[in-house]
Symmetry: C2
Subunit: 488 residues, 2 copies
């Protein structure tokens, strides 16, 4: 064992070496970008913003931000960071809307490669191939705005106005996944700067591809730990004219979830299919002044789309029959775009509505369990019951058609240790219940730092060892977003 003085000396040496390596890399970046100095940013507000997403994870700022404009600049940063001793970590950053501490710098001497400011363009649209190619920093609202004239749209909708690069990095999805799939289904090809500084192409611009290992899906969902995404080709879908939303109340969450199983088992091509428990509807009523109050009991929100009015009507008839048969009441359909828009805007505000149930400063713990569809009723009902008996506030809602649900547990700065412990216990039991049902700890938010501890329980040592081997093989110096997804 080392004596205290020796340990201290070694630590001092390491710290000194690290700081020197950071100084080396920042000097190198200043030299590289001397004709474009404003892309290097160390404004404290921006550093803080680049260290966190939208959840309760505290900010872990990087040392510097580079607001890259080109792939070449990303390659330059990667090469500079890889060449220092020790190597300088790189954390790619999009819109900062992630929820699991993905963008926090576990090492403060990190460089953030930030894309939303200067690397955010729609590169090309190929309407007859139903696809477009974008830079990673474009947000989905901007993308859909720019696509308008084509009659096509990008369908993945996580609620937040996230960047496409960030959405690809976490394999995001949202309310439309039940029909249009998740990011892995909608990203056809990515270009990525790897640890050598080279840009490679993964996937192809085709709807199908059986050529070699699936690198595209390996990079999608790798949360910036295997490289920096520089370009993304996305599958687009036609804008459909005939849309109708429905709202329906149930006596129990089990009834509501059973209705979802019936809808999907009958082949109804639901475009959205969301479940909300009583407390979520209560939060909704208090927060969303634009939408008529609903009885505070479990609800389903279902959206139908069709290419014709007649087709939509036939879907509506079948859905109404199923909802009725499954015990649904107060069933209301609306084709009015304004009503639909308000409903979904309110649904997307459920996080804020839930947090507003507990006044005060703070944020919410957002869980992201996903289970096999047939297990949803029991898991979601047990979770809602656990929350009630634990006497904490935690509305439950989610993408029922995918078996994916969230529970918002608002945390207040003034919360007692005892209350915080209750929240942690509720969360732990929720994950245990989910994994026992064959589920995953994260359906759409990703692992970040927040879900790392569950990975081995979910997959077993063997699978996690393979993930680790892939990380070590593709990023031997561990420069890309270290300390996320898996421990070294």
């Amino acid at each position: 064992m080392l004596c205290a003085a020796t340990s201290k000396m070694i630590l001092k040496h390491i710290t000194f070496t690290k700081r020197r390596s950071l100084a080396t890399v920042t000097n190198e970046l200043r030299r590289l970008f001397e004709s474009d100095p404003e892309i290097i940013d160390s404004n404290p507000y921006e550093l803080d913003r680049h260290g966190r997403g939208e959840s309760f994870h505290p900010s872990k700022p990087p040392s510097h931000i580079v607001h890259v404009r080109t792939t070449q600049q990303i390659q330059d940063v990667v090469k500079a960071c890889a060449s220092t001793s020790p190597p300088t970590p790189i954390v790619p950053f999009g819109a900062g809307t992630s929820l699991e501490g993905h963008v926090g710098s576990t090492n403060p001497d990190s460089i953030s490669i930030s894309t939303t400011k200067n690397f955010n363009q729609l590169v090309s649209v190929d309407p007859s191939s139903l696809q477009c190619t974008v830079q990673p920093g474009i947000t989905r609202h901007k993308l859909n705005h720019e696509l308008r004239a084509t009659g096509l749209q990008f369908m993945v909708d996580p609620g937040a106005d996230a960047s496409i690069g960030g959405m690809a990095a976490t394999n995001a999805s949202g309310t439309s996944a039940v029909k249009f799939g998740v990011m892995r289904d909608n990203v056809l090809q990515v270009k990525v700067v790897t640890s050598s500084g080279e840009e490679i192409t993964a996937g192809s611009k085709t709807f199908k591809n059986s050529a070699g290992y699936d690198l595209k899906n390996l990079f999608v969902g790798s949360e910036g730990t295997l490289g920096v995404i520089t370009e993304i080709t996305l599958r687009l879908h036609p804008i459909v004219d005939h849309i109708e939303s429905s709202v329906c109340a149930f006596q129990s969450l089990t009834q509501a979830c059973d209705a979802v199983v019936t809808l999907l088992s009958c082949g109804v091509p639901v475009a959205k299919c969301e479940v909300l428990d009583g407390p979520a509807i209560h939060a909704f009523n208090l927060y969303s002044k634009d939408v008529d109050d609903m009885t505070p009991q479990p609800h389903l929100f279902v959206e139908l789309q069709d290419i014709s009015e007649a087709g939509l009507a036939s879907q509506r008839n079948i859905v109404e029959e199923i909802l009725n048969d499954c015990g649904g009441t107060n069933i209301e359909f609306s084709a009015n775009p304004a009503v639909r828009k308000k409903l979904w805007a309110a649904r997307h505000d459920t996080y804020y509505a839930s947090c507003a149930l507990r006044p005060g400063e703070g944020m919410g713990i957002v869980t992201d369990a996903c289970v096999p569809l047939g297990q949803l009723a029991s898991v979601i009902a047990a979770t809602a019951e656990d929350i009630q008996t634990s006497e904490v506030i935690g509305p439950v809602f989610g993408h029922a058609g995918d078996g994916n649900f969230h529970c918002i547990l608002p945390v207040r700065d003034t919360d007692s240790e005892e209350y915080l412990q209750k929240l942690e216990d509720v969360n732990d039991r929720l994950i245990s219940r989910t994994l026992a049902a064959g589920g995953t700890c994260t359906g759409e938010h990703g692992v970040g730092s927040g879900k790392m501890k569950y990975l081995t329980t979910q997959y077993g040592e063997g699978a996690v060892d393979i993930m680790r081997a892939i990380k070590e093989s593709l990023d031997p110096k561990n420069i890309f977003n270290p300390g996320k997804i898996i421990t070294p």
Copy 2:
């Protein structure tokens, strides 16, 4: 440089070591399975069959076959093969329907792990989760037969009665992919025995999963080069009652492909969407006595499905209008199940019909190009024209909705060198044209040994180097199906 005698001595030593290592492994397998000796097979007919698929690639038989019954037996074989010096290669084998030389033993001292005889059961069905779990050796016909009572079906249909393990290994698809996706979309979870002999789980039984690197999609499509698949959980879809097929003629392939783009751009949820050129229809007429003759000009076969008669009728009206607008003629719809069945059986026979255009012994070269949808018209038309001007026989047809098409080039044992050269040239130009259009050399058949030479041109050195690094990392001894997908 070594003298000839030394070289010969070294070669002899290597051969001797290899044979000794094979003797070691077969003795070990006999010892391991002494209570179940009939699972070890070295019948010459079976060895020959286990060395090839259904294409022109000549058989490369293994030394022995093990008709495994359990995962434990697979683990035993892998451990035994990994422990010899040099290691003994393992080639997983399903139904033997692959087309790119996937199952040929590049080293004759290999062990084939064969699954269709004894490892072919439906393990469980979870109807309310719309999924089932199977052993890899079950074939898709058997699976769908066993699923009948559930009202659910497995939707990936490559034509051949392939094993589910083999279909997962090649990321197979077929006529239904345009609506129901490819194997990667329909496999939720796989269990795999890796190079250490351990069984790991990749993916989860949920419709969505953002937890860690996508190992599931890495193993799906890895063609037995990263491990042996032991269990597969599949997404199922409800059997829909309202189905209608349509057949429509066009003046040109370009018109037919443009009609496909229009159908998809309008959001028509086509369940199948196949294009056939004039020569393919001619072959079809000669071969398929069950189906009425069609004019030998480009055709589209489209299948529509809906949950109601009214919905189906509205789809039919829109499709008819689009086909008419795009220059389609002789449009015929049929809801008669017998007519539909005959049509699709005949479509699945196109390979044999094409081969029958050139009487004699031999097989066909099957190409598998896939391009971005908007490029399909020009690539497919240029290919059909090239075939005509090259004066070879090669009907063109394929999964137009996916941009994936095949060209069958029948090869006869009596063919002259000159004719064979023409076929090779047509094939090379087809691949060049495909890659230039942003396509992939294989949309659904996989790389095997046949497409290896195109991988670097398609992806670039960098991406192929990453595939190589993954292979070396997961299979350091190169025991799993060596000599496929990538060169070491």
